[in-house]
Structure formats: C-alpha cells, structure tokens
C-alpha cells in the first residue's frame, strides 16, 4: 500500500507536425492553394468595384490586367487553382456515400475523373462564351 504511482505517460509535442510526413506537406500545399482561389476572387471583386465607378475606372482596370506583371500573376493563379481543383476531386470519393451503378460500387478513380471532366468542360464553355462576347 501507499506505493507511489510509477506511471508517467509522456506526451510528445505537436510543433512542426506538418513537416514530419510528405503526406502532410502535400496537404498543407493543397490547403494553401485555397488562398490563390481567394486572391482571384478579390481580383474579380476589384473589377466589379471599378465598373461601378464608371468607364474610365473600368478601362484602367482592364489596362492593369494587361500588364506583364498581371499576366504572370494570372499564370501563377491558373496553376495554383488547377492544382487545387485536382486535389479537391482527388479527395471527393472519400467524402461521399457509395454510388452503386448496376449493382457495383463506383470506383474512386471514376468519381475523381468525372469531377475533373466536369470542371474542364465548364471552364472551356465559360472560356468560349467570354471569347465569343469579346470578339
């Protein structure tokens, strides 16, 4: 009786957890690309604001978009958003209830593929529409 409790569980620190495993680094990168999605939304919102301020402001915004710096920024945005889109649909099969087609469960690859195909088609249709409107 009265022996001291020899148990002394050791809790390891979590600091820097995301650098411990390549999977976590990749997770942080794909979460980080969400910031680029937000950045592009801000670019578009500024455009809306300039449109409300009149023709001169709107044309100024259009000119700003044509600067080499802006084009380079948009290329970076495109790459980051494309990567975000790919990782988004890659995790999608893990987030949904099983889809049964003709008695068979739809494989994860098919779900990811469908998502990417829809995103690609939607982007092309939008591009086509805008292209048609501005010609």
């Amino acid at each position: 009786m009265n022996t001291p409790n020899p148990r002394r569980p050791y809790v390891r620190p979590m600091a820097g957890w995301w650098r411990r495993n390549p999977f976590f680094v990749e997770y942080m990168v794909h979460e980080g690309t969400a910031l680029f999605v937000a950045a592009y939304a801000i670019v578009l919102l500024v455009g809306l604001l300039r449109l409300a301020q009149g023709e001169a402001a709107w044309n100024g915004w259009l000119d700003a978009l044509k600067s080499p710096l802006s084009v380079a920024f948009h290329l970076i945005l495109l790459a980051a958003i494309a990567y975000h889109c790919w990782t988004w649909f890659r995790i999608m099969p893990k987030t949904m209830p099983p889809i049964v087609v003709r008695g068979k469960r739809l494989p994860p690859g098919a779900i990811t593929g469908c998502g990417l195909a829809v995103a690609a088609v939607a982007s092309l249709v939008l591009l086509g529409l805008v292209w048609g409107m501005t010609r």
Binding site: V11, Y27, K94, T95, R105
Partner: protein, 254 residues
C-alpha cells in the same frame, strides 16, 4: 560454399525508448539485429527483447495483422509491425517509435484509455430496431444491406488512423477516425435502431466537424476500412440531423 555466418545480414533498428521510472524524456537507442528476408519488424523487436535487451516493451499478439496490437511508427509512418518487413529497409536503418499522437506509457507501448472510453461511448453493438424473441428467429439481412456496412466492420482497433490524424494529435478530444468508422458501421446496419443515441457523439463539438479531410487515416488503414469516408459521410448526416429538427413534428426531441 560460403559460410553461413558470412552471408548473415544485419540491420540497425533504432528504437525510441522511454522508461518512466528513470528517463525524463524518450531517447533513441540503436540495436544491430541479424535478419532474414522473411522477418517482420515485430520479429526484429522480439530478437532485441530475447537476446539484446530484455527491458524493451511493446505490444503484440497474433503476428498476422488481425489483432491490431502491434501498431507503431515505422520510419515515421503508422504501420503494423507484423506486416512490415525488415528487408524493405535494408541496408538502411529502420526507426521504430510508439504510435504518434498518443501518450507513451513505456517504450513502444502507448496509453490507449482515451480510445477505449470513446469506444464505449458509441455503444458499439447492435441496438435492435424491433427486438425479436427466440421463437421469432434470427434477424435477417440481405447481401445488399450487409454491403452497406461490411467495410467498416473490418476495423481491428489498431489505432493507426489516430496516429495518422493531425487533428487528433492537436486536439485529443476529437472523436477520431476509427471510432467514427465503428459508429457508422452500427448506424447503417439495417438491424440497428440506435442511430439517434449515437448521433450525439457525431454532432458534438468534438464530433465529425473537427475533421479537415486530411485523408491520411484511410491511406494507412491496414484493413481498407476507409475511416475518412465514414467521418465525411457523417458530416452530411449531422447537417441533415440538425436541419431536420426544424421540419419534423417532434422538433428534434428524442
């Protein structure tokens, strides 16, 4: 013919030791272990315990990936040590540590009380929807009804998914992937009627919405349970549970 001793291969196993009565914090210790191509990491540890240092502590039982006792961090990844082979690390060194995100009791043994408490809280057994007497016979189920939960019933409570979940490491209050997979296994069983009781765990502050869909839990699962899927399906179910209270006659009262 070459001498047997000459062809004998050795591998360095680096083990994270922690002996609470004498160490203030864990430290790494290297053992040189002879091995053959058919030897698992678990067998390497057993060699250390038998021939090099009898004080080394670790959990194990079945040696065939069904008991779920021997989960460890092997080269930084959560794996069953009985299902991981030394040959895959040779000629390099292999590092073995206690499962991440759990307190270390001693050496490679973790404190799993938290998991056991959570397991009890979800009532991991069938709560009959319509109780039947012995005379009425068994509870029948179609193969299609069984398919809905079968994958989630493969969980062996090995805790690898918890060691893979940074959200659990950052906040151990989080119910976590394995428990959610088991909860889901019973909730979607056609014979079960206990979902309403278990949804409190899902909906709680520490419930499914702590998950940020890292998805590593499903990657490391040795039984292809896909716990991330159980967690994320329950995000939808939890939202449905919340909004249904406004339209059901009982107003969500149980």
């Amino acid at each position: 013919m070459a001498d047997v001793a000459e062809t004998r291969k050795f591998i360095e196993i680096e083990v994270l030791r922690y002996r609470p009565e004498q160490d203030s914090e864990p430290f790494l210790q290297i053992f040189e272990v002879p091995f053959t191509d058919d030897m698992s990491v678990l067998q390497g540890l057993q060699y250390i315990k038998d021939y090099l240092d009898g004080s080394l502590s670790f959990r194990w039982s079945c040696r065939m990936a069904i008991c779920g006792s021997c989960g460890m961090m092997i080269d930084g990844k959560p794996r069953l040590s009985c299902k991981t082979f030394l040959r895959d690390f040779h000629p390099g060194r292999v590092r073995v540590e206690a499962l991440a995100h759990f307190p270390i009791e001693r050496d490679l043994v973790i404190v799993m009380d938290d998991f056991i408490d959570k397991l009890e809280s979800i009532k991991p057994y069938i709560i009959a929807k319509e109780p039947r007497t012995l005379e009425q016979g068994e509870y029948l189920q179609t193969p299609a009804e069984r398919d809905v939960y079968e994958q989630f019933s493969s969980c062996i409570n090995c805790l690898l998914c918890y060691a893979a979940c940074p959200q659990y490491g950052l906040n151990p209050e989080f119910v976590g992937p394995g428990i959610m997979a088991l909860l889901h296994r019973y909730n979607v069983d056609s014979r079960d009627g206990g979902a309403a009781q278990r949804m409190d765990v899902v909906n709680a502050e520490e419930g499914v919405f702590n998950c940020t869909a890292v998805g590593y839990c499903s990657e490391v699962c040795p039984k292809h349970v896909d716990p991330a899927n159980a967690v994320n399906q329950n995000k939808t179910l939890s939202a449905k549970d919340y909004f249904l209270r406004f339209v059901t006659p009982k107003g969500g009262a149980r």
